[in-house]
Symmetry: C2
Subunit: 715 residues, 2 copies
């Protein structure tokens, strides 16, 4: 398809560029031909010795072949003998060269790591990719492909990698009826499908390849709000078939279970975890699963949380419940991921409750239990402080749960690159042992030396042709995997990889889009919930702004005003020592820093403090003024993103260009909706003018309060 490149301002040139139409279906594995200078770098490596092996080795080999010909236009020649090859891949390929430091480095690679090494002997350049396991070869091969996709020279490689977390998981909140809770890219790829498995195979293998390419090694196939039927034989068989498809890609399947399953599908009188019949039932169920899926990963459990059943229904603790399941899974090497997302409407500050409930249980969990903790103490907001549980349970492995799907960040309508959010959390210093006790170090098992470590992301995947609704939401899937593999990677580097692989090497495009992506998270914070505000979204959809919501009979902790507490006196949640004292759940010096509004970071100020509208900030502005500036800045940033995108027309295919262009238009509109709604609503309390150098709101508060949200437009 020919795209006329539009004449630039004072246009000097008219260029025609051929760009293919693309749907986004291929994700970052498009393998289109590289610029010719890069091709010539890689073509010398077309003579390949790929050590034979398992199905995992086979898929790695096929991937390399597909990628190589796509990127260079030259077919790989797979050779039986290594000596004339320029690229050697396999667990044992170093035997041919016996390079000592490769052996040494392999020891650092553990189970899933790999070594990639450029070698020059007798004037011949070669690349060796090796590992201790087939999985390592798979990841090493994908790493090599990525180097080519991103245009790296290959003649002086010396790469040793191993993943930072043992389990790197996607959580699909997919219901068995095919709907996806908080899913904005169509229905479930897993459940309630009319097509045959054969017809879907291409889709599932693309899913598997994509995850393998970024190191994801486990996937929970059903919603944490679990339907008990998932344990029926019918569904166990379906899990088994998915496991078979994913196994070559080193991806284990996991299952969310309903704690009341013994009663609901087992017919037992109780699901009390201390009852022997209940325990027996679970043992039997687990046995059935492992007969079907020998490498089954384990269970994910949401119990006694938001109405889900759990051990507390029988007067038992979370530990009692988790341990019962852990005992059943232990003989097979399975794990229990037990969610700490608990809070009750009658209790204390919601932000404190998970900590209060779980910390006393530290030491009571069996070794194969991991407590799954959301990154922040409330619920996947545009910005939260890290959850105080991180670092507070020395004897228990804690895994971090991020949300890739944008439940509170504009669904798949808003372009928000989430790596900076995740990185901010992972890099947060908990100070629990000493300086440098970051959330990453706490959760990856290093700090407290736990056997298991894990990290999970709630998937944003659905049946949409482009997988994630928004083309840029693919970047959040990609970046989550990359950070799970190595949390030391920089979000901008991950983004640059992804842009090159997903769109083009055109440096104008790459740098402009990088800039767009890197602005996007702070933009959404600013236009939705700046300065530590949180949960201002409509209570039933979590999409648009509804800080005014007052629903009779609704749980107060599901309503925005529980969180913003706006009144004529001021705004914010007092979590300091004079308030809910949530600050005390953080180690010093954080506790003191958060407790004092003068030292509390401004981007969390209203998370920890309720302050008067005329409270004077270090900028010299009042709280009210600063809040207005933040909301306006959010909109301005999105406008800037939109302008930057718009001038990239012609540098990529029109299909994706226009899709994103349209989404950005929606985002600008909705950013204004957010800004106007919040500023005008809070102004009814502050009674102060919007700073006069700012544009006036576009909407009336009444009009915004009467907008009806139609979920149909957002799925």
């Amino acid at each position: 398809m020919y795209v006329r490149k539009y004449i630039l301002l004072l246009g000097l040139m008219v260029i025609s560029v051929k760009v293919s139409a693309e749907s986004g279906e291929a994700l970052w594995m498009r393998y289109l031909k590289l610029p010719s200078d890069l091709q010539s770098l890689y073509i010398p490596y077309a003579q390949v010795y790929f050590e034979e092996g398992s199905s995992t080795i086979e898929v790695a080999k096929q991937e390399l072949a597909q990628a190589f010909v796509g990127l260079t236009g030259v077919d790989i020649k797979f050779q039986k003998k290594p000596f004339k090859c320029s690229l050697l891949i396999g667990k044992n390929v170093n035997q041919f060269w016996n390079i000592p430091d490769i052996e040494k480095n392999l020891k650092k690679c553990a189970n899933e790591g790999f070594v990639i090494r450029s070698v020059k002997r007798n004037g011949v350049r070669r690349i060796i990719v090796t590992a201790n396991t087939d999985a390592g070869i798979l990841y090493g091969t994908f790493a090599l492909i990525r180097l080519m996709q991103t245009g790296c020279p290959l003649d002086s490689l010396n790469i040793i990698e191993r993943p930072k977390y043992k389990f790197r998981l996607l959580n699909h909140w997919d219901n068995l009826d095919g709907t996806v809770e908080r899913g904005y890219a169509g229905r479930s790829i897993w459940w309630n499908r009319k097509e045959t498995l054969d017809a879907l195979k291409h889709q599932y293998l693309t899913y598997a390849r994509a995850n393998a390419s970024i190191g994801i090694n486990g996937t929970v196939l059903n919603n944490v709000n679990a339907n008990p039927k998932v344990l029926d034989q019918e569904y166990i068989e379906k899990f088994a078939r998915f496991a078979d498809l994913l196994r070559p890609y080193n991806i284990k399947v996991f299952m969310s279970i309903n704690f009341s399953s013994p009663v609901i599908i087992g017919g037992l009188p109780s699901s009390d975890p201390l009852r022997e019949d209940v325990q027996q039932w679970w043992n039997q169920k687990v046995k059935e699963i492992y007969e079907a899926i020998p490498d089954f990963g384990g269970f994910l459990v949401k119990a006694n949380s938001e109405g889900q059943p759990g051990p507390q229904d029988y007067g038992r603790s979370h530990a009692d419940g988790a341990n019962m399941l852990a005992r059943a899974l232990e003989p097979y090497g399975g794990i229990v991921m037990w969610r700490a997302f608990v809070y009750s409407p009658s209790g204390d500050d919601r932000a404190k409750q998970a900590y209060d409930e779980f910390v006393p249980l530290d030491g009571q969990f069996r070794d194969n239990v991991i407590i799954q903790v959301k990154n922040g103490p409330i619920d996947f907001q545009p910005r939260e402080p890290f959850s105080p549980l991180f670092g507070a349970m020395e004897k228990t492995p804690l895994m971090i749960e991020f949300q890739i799907t944008q439940e509170y960040l504009g669904f798949s309508d808003h372009l928000v690159y989430l790596a900076p959010l995740q990185k901010e959390c992972l890099d947060s210093d908990t100070y629990v042992k000493n300086e440098g006790s970051t959330v990453a170090i706490v959760t990856n098992g290093t700090l407290f030396k736990h056997q298991y470590s894990a990290i999970a992301g709630v998937a944003n995947i659905g049946r949409d042709i482009n997988w994630t609704g928004h083309h840029f939401a693919q970047a959040n899937w990609y970046a989550f995997g990359r950070l799970a593999w190595n949390h030391n990677l920089k979000p901008e580097d991950i983004a640059r990889e992804w842009i090159k692989m997903t769109f083009t090497h055109d440096s104008v495009f790459v740098e402009s889009v990088l800039d767009i992506m890197m602005r996007s998270r702070e933009a959404v914070v600013n236009y939705m919930t700046p300065m530590g505000l949180h949960h201002l979204m409509g209570w039933d959809h979590h999409y648009g702004p509804a800080p005014w919501t007052d629903i009779e009979g609704a749980r107060p902790d599901w309503l925005p005003r529980y969180y913003h507490n706006a009144s004529e006196e001021g705004i914010g949640f007092n979590r300091s020592k004079s308030g809910s004292n949530a600050v005390s759940q953080y180690a010093e010096p954080l506790c003191s820093m958060f407790n004092n509004p003068k030292t509390c970071p401004q981007n969390l100020l209203l998370w920890f403090h309720h302050l008067p509208w005329d409270y004077r900030l270090s900028s010299g502005l009042t709280l009210w003024q600063e809040l207005c500036y933040h909301y306006y800045r959010g909109v301005d940033e999105v406008k800037l993103m939109q302008k930057k995108w718009d001038r990239l027309r012609g540098r990529i295919d029109d299909e994706r260009f226009e899709h994103v262009q349209h989404k950005l238009k929606v985002q600008v509109r909705e950013a204004k909706w957010w800004r106007d709604a919040c500023v005008l609503y809070f102004q009814t309390f502050s009674k102060m003018p919007i700073p006069y150098e700012l544009e006036r709101p576009e909407h009336d508060l009444d009009e915004l309060m009467n907008l009806k949200f139609d979920m149909k437009n957002h799925n």
Copy 2:
């Protein structure tokens, strides 16, 4: 009502100001107490000798009394004897002092002018207001009141004024059923009212006072698309009652008539103006009218225009029709205003037709016929060149018709100060005799020495409590009257008077609002129809943008594309010599200047030329780029107006402040609607990008094209 004056940015002061709530009903005649320093300037003039006289003198005296006590808090003492008075008003007051140059100046004042003179004798200051007629005294009194309202010192006045036009008229397009064609301030104040005349008297007298205060001396009470019933005895009586109310204020009533009245209500077989029975019928009708209204002004006629009947229906000319009516009116001193607003769909360029039809008739009209010509050759657009008829009919008095109601300028929703538009037209040099033959000089009777001269404005008045829908639309009523009195006044000076009288003397407010008003007309040109574009409005409502309109069976000259001619080749109406040659209707050097796109003023470029999208302008930009910048500038200007208004809160009453604030919000929104609609629609032809430093459009073209216009929201 107490208004909290909001804290300014980095607010240093909090002030409470008492401001009264106001509805706008009192127009610019609020007569609220002035700042005390001004009061003290005027209180010395409370001893007044007001010469007794007609009802006109009586209303002037009452007005002065009301104004004086309102503005100063001190009641006037009317004295029987002049010698102790400080203010003397009357036709003969100079006899007491016999100041020679007052006598001399009175000669220059003609019928409606006046002299105001400060005199100091024996250490005593006095003011003399005098005139040749009662009307002159009325206008002189209002002028004196205005001097006080606007805070002028009175101790060295030497004012001689006389109106530039003999007839200064409002045209009400009010239908007898109470609707108002192109009226956006509620239903007609004149027709189909349920209240008794007594109940409405206050309203009518406010109307009369307002008009007298600005020198309006005639009013056409019914729509030019005239219902024949207006000539029924019932309506003649109603006209007579209105005339009785208005007479003391020197306002004559006029009537729009339907040319087919002899057939429709007279029962004659024809309305042919050359038939004697028809002439007799009109003579009789006029006689009836003058029996009821001895000072009846005359007829306004829209004939053979937009479906109205006329003499051409009988093969007669406009002159035949107008002269028949003129003969009937002549004995009583009445006039005929015959509209030149004629065009037919089958004919030549609509902009040329009035000229082509009327110029050949020059010299054929009777002396008491005035041809009423719209300011531009099409129809009350945000910008048009002046009508080429001005100056082209030396032997015929031409009157200029402006539209005060904003048919094509955002109705009563948009703040647009029209004086700059009117002034631009009046000051336009026609070059018909020599340099300086402005439209004003042509129409006020000076250039060609006509007995009659007239100027008309289509009223924007309705039953709304504030008279005009938008508070700022009052300024257009006011400014029209002031310019009709003296077209040499500057729009900014008129605006400053009006702001002070209507709102406050607060100089911050006055200067800010002046700036808003002075920006407003160019803003609306830019966001609706910049660079000479015209008639892009929805064809059935004339409100929002609809350049795409294509209605099967609609008259092509009622559809926007007739005017914009956008295609892939370019945009604009070729009226140059290579096109419709409308330029030839203008005198040199205008004809040559308009004919050449290099010399044609840029703000009329697409009026006279069809040019390619990449046509390079003197700015170095292409036509497309320049067009985009104009549309965006229009929106930016309205945003600026809005910001300027917003910071004036507390300086006037909240009631009007918030009313205007809301209207400005609507205007910003609709300016964007205009901008996006036109830019996106024209982009489908230009196929060029919107310059990248400009914000991206907010709307999608599809969405805008599907918007339904609901007239109910705009009346």
